[in-house]
Amino acid sequence: MAVSGIVVTLASDPGLAEQAMAALSADPRLTLGERFGLRLAAVAETDSPRADRDLWDQLHAIPGVVHVDVTFVALDQPAPELAREMENTDAHA
């Protein structure tokens, strides 16, 4: 499980910002919180570090999302699981 607290900065163009809000609300991995001007608080829940990374990339690709800052990450993944993941990569082959 990966739980992250994030702040999404929306575009200043109101149309684009609304479009981004609609896309973000429809994403089941996100729980949206309060919005302060162009800044939106949210929580992202994903099943694995890979999904976490994918979500990060997808958020950045949404029109009207200018920037995503992460403010909290829970790292509840036990070390052996990480080790297994890394075995499948070539980082230290």
């Binding site: 309060e34 230290h92 082959a93």
Partner: protein
């Protein structure tokens, strides 16, 4: 109070953190629930600075059952106000790579075999005792302050040996010589608050969006609040920073020297320089004559008048600067006009682009010069500020003086008075510190990689908390040659296997980050403290303990230098009752706070250059304090933001406005330097027609030894590549992803091509990141360095691009 199950609790904590950060700077008042932890949870939160870059963000570290289980940005931290970058929020995972080093290993018959700590310490002590003068230590801007203090004292005050240097020599030594030449004292006068107040931010070869992302967000975020801030990106390749810039000025390598002189030319020609500030606070300087063919002129230079200075910059007309730099003359005029305005604030920012430069000292001086000349200095938003890549390049290396020519607190090895002070503070006999500076980094590695009978007079080298096997320029010559030299002995203290441990004769497993007590000093003079929160794995131990244990072993062996003036061990430590604490014995190392002891000893050094630090316990309470930290009549401690400015710096005399109290000319004035444009030592030609620039990427921190062990970061940026301009690729018939050979006069490397990727070099340039230990680009780079800072230039050399058959 709410009682929640664990997942709900974690979600609520995540939403609280996000909401608070989102609301920061907004007018809305917040009312957040007070969360209790799930029943039975032993989760604890503590502060620590981020392990990575010199920004010095603070994180809150959640620990449970001896493990780091959560990270969040620290809302109480001024630097990052609750935010972290992609690296920072994964910082906890760097502790848990599968291949942590957990036991000492000695190479026997060519193979590394596990040994005990006793054998490891005895092996090092014997190597040193057998030949103390050919021993060298190579440390790091990731050394904690305690580690740096222990290493420096051990070498300079114990062994009387100045061959101790640190990797900041490779990343910010030219910033040091720039500050020293201009202000007579190191480190930026300004602070990060300048980012909140400037109208114009100029990036001098500085990809801040990727290298100091939280600072860049702090700057850019002002736009979302309706504030206007103009970003000017002066760069040799387009980067993510360029995407946010109003003006992207792509210049030729070394063109920055011409640009700065061009701005000075316009300020004088248009009469828009700040006449009052210049008259009251500036002297002018140029290089003096060369003492001989091989020796560069003195760094203190020779005086010149304002008229001589004006004459020196006269040839740098916008058209001439266009020719030298490639930047259109009208853009040079724009820069001249901006600097000439009194109604705006300008913050210049730089990092490796200006420092890794064979004229690094010169360009640092020139950027300070245009700020002084124009009076864009010493007011919130008006500053010339260097940023550091490492978390404690400033705190540990620049301030504690862990370079071969320095002593703590801004003192110099070559100055007899400074040696005397250091001997007094360290309580060692007069004459213990050798008068000659030791070898700087490149020289140290050259000598270690040269046969002993051919002048290679470094035979044992101890590397702590850094990876020179990946970062030293011209690796084949300056690092890998050691392999064939039987009498050379390489000791490496580290947390993971690296390109350096690959050639090590002895590997020592180290504790990292919150597995030990520590202090760092970030880019804005902020000293930060944290406590050990989790145990290190296996038999890994603190680097500081390793140094102390070797020192004690040498004491046992009768090495005189390990004793102070009073005949006691140089690291002698007692408890409150005056009883000796055996800190050389790991079982008792944490019986006292060794960090606090070393810091308090070091603190005495800091007054001479007005870099005053507060007592250790003040840092325990705070998220760092920026020096000079001055005690107030009520006993509290006040940090300083704008140095040399009367309104904020206690050391400026009343009525002075500004006072450069460490002035080189001893008249409280700063120096405006003239340094001419010069071409780089190696330029593209018909055999090697491309410029090569190397650098970093957002996801990986420096050589990637930590961040490549974090799956999320590794996957985001798995391996090195070569960025090429689309026109060049087309001309050579190279496709995206195709593997090409990058070849220089020193070596070659195969890399996949990335066209239109993250960065976009100009035609005739290629860029390669250096994080990938499988693709060592420093086999290709040049080992030429700045004559004053001795910092190598990794940003430009000539290469060719060859298609594979």
């Amino acid at each position: 109070m709410l009682t929640l199950d664990r997942r709900t609790f974690v979600k609520s904590a995540a939403m609280t953190a996000a909401t608070t950060a989102a609301a920061a700077g907004s007018a809305s008042a917040l009312s957040l629930p007070v969360l209790s932890q799930p029943e039975g949870s032993s989760l604890k939160w503590n502060k620590a600075p981020c392990r990575f870059c010199g920004t010095g963000c603070h994180v809150m570290v959640g620990t449970e059952n001896g493990r780091v289980v959560a990270i969040q940005g620290d809302q109480k931290a001024d630097v990052n106000k609750g935010l972290l970058c992609v690296k920072g929020y994964h910082v906890g995972l760097i502790l848990y790579g599968k291949d942590r080093l957990t036991t000492p290993m000695l190479r026997k018959d060519g193979k590394l075999v596990p040994i005990s700590w006793d054998e490891a310490i005895a092996t090092i002590a014997k190597r040193i005792a057998d030949s103390p003068k050919t021993f060298a230590m190579y440390g790091s801007g990731q050394w904690t302050i305690g580690e740096g203090c222990a290493g420096n004292k051990f070498m300079k005050a114990g062994l009387g040996n100045n061959h101790i240097d640190g990797n900041p020599r490779l990343c910010m030594a030219s910033a040091v010589t720039g500050f020293l030449s201009t202000f007579g004292v190191d480190e930026p006068p300004g602070v990060y608050d300048d980012l909140d107040a400037c109208d114009v931010a100029i990036m001098w070869g500085n990809n801040m969006a990727e290298m100091h992302p939280v600072l860049f967000s702090r700057l850019i975020d002002r736009r979302t609040r309706g504030e206007k801030v103009m970003v000017i990106d002066m760069t040799t390749r387009r980067t993510r920073t360029s995407d946010h810039a109003e003006h992207v000025l792509l210049f030729k390598p070394h063109g920055d020297l011409a640009i700065a002189n061009g701005i000075a030319h316009l300020l004088i020609k248009n009469g828009t320089y700040d006449k009052d500030f210049v008259a009251k606070h500036c002297n002018f300087r140029q290089l003096g004559p060369k003492p001989d063919e091989k020796t560069p002129p003195d760094m203190l230079g020779a005086p010149m008048t304002f008229e001589e200075y004006a004459k020196a910059v006269e040839p740098y007309t916008p058209e001439k600067v266009e020719e030298l730099s490639g930047i259109p003359a009208e853009k040079i005029r724009l820069l001249g006009e901006l600097f000439g305005r009194r109604d705006i604030k300008i913050n210049s920012l730089w990092c490796m682009g200006m420092n890794q430069h064979t004229r690094g000292t010169a360009i640092n001086c020139l950027v300070h010069a245009i700020h002084l000349l124009s009076g864009h200095f010493g007011k919130p938003g008006d500053a010339s500020t260097s940023l550091t890549g490492q978390p404690s390049a400033c705190g540990t290396v620049r301030e504690c003086g862990t370079l071969s020519h320095l002593l703590p607190g801004g003192r110099l090895v070559a100055n007899p008075d400074h040696r005397k002070h250091a001997e007094e503070f360290w309580n060692v006999p007069e004459g213990r510190i050798a008068p000659k500076p030791g070898y700087h980094t490149v020289e140290m590695f050259k000598r270690f990689n040269t046969p002993t009978d051919q002048g290679g007079d470094i035979t044992t080298l101890w590397v702590q908390v850094t990876n020179p096997g990946q970062t030293i320029p011209n690796l084949e010559r300056n690092f890998r040659k050691k392999k064939g030299l039987a009498d050379k002995f390489l000791i490496v203290s580290d947390v993971y296997p690296t390109a350096t441990t690959e050639l090590a004769d002895l590997i020592l497993p180290s504790a990292m980050w919150v597995e030990k007590n520590g202090m760092y000093g970030n880019s804005e003079r902020r000293t930060q403290q944290w406590f050990k929160l989790v145990p290190p794995p296996g038999d890994a131990r603190d680097d500081c303990w390793q140094t102390i244990a070797v020192s004690h072993k040498l004491l046992d062996m009768g090495v005189e230098g390990m004793k102070g003036k009073d005949g006691k061990w140089i690291f002698h430590t007692t408890d409150a009752a005056g009883k000796e604490v055996p800190i050389w014995d790991w079982a008792h190392y944490y019986d006292t706070n060794v960090d606090e002891r070393l810091f308090e000893e070091y603190r005495a050094f800091t007054r001479m250059k007005h870099k005053d630090l507060a007592p250790y316990q003040e840092y325990v309470k705070s998220r760092g304090l920026r020096w000079p930290v001055i005690q107030q009549p009520d006993g509290s401690w006040k940090e300083t933001r704008w140095r040399f400015s009367e309104f904020d710096d206690t050391y400026v005399a009343k009525g002075k406005g500004f006072q450069f109290y460490h002035s080189v000319t001893k008249d409280d004035k700063a120096l405006v330097w003239f340094r001419p444009h010069e071409f780089p030592p190696e330029m593209p030609d018909k055999d090697f027609p491309f410029w090569l620039c190397t650098g970093r990427v957002l996801e990986h921190w420096h050589t990637g030894t930590m961040t490549r062990r974090v799956p999320q970061l590794h996957r985001a940026m798995p391996r090195a590549y070569v960025e090429m301009n689309r026109e060049d690729a087309k001309r050579l018939g190279v496709q995206n992803g195709e593997v090409v050979t990058i070849k220089s006069r020193r070596g070659e490397l195969d890399l996949p091509v990335w066209i239109g990727g993250r960065g976009d070099p100009k035609p005739g340039e290629v860029f390669v990141p250096f994080f990938d230990e499988g693709k060592l680009i420093n086999q290709v780079t040049l080992d030429e360095y700045d004559p004053y800072s001795k910092q190598p230039d990794y940003k430009k050399c000539a290469v060719t691009v060859l298609r594979k058959a």
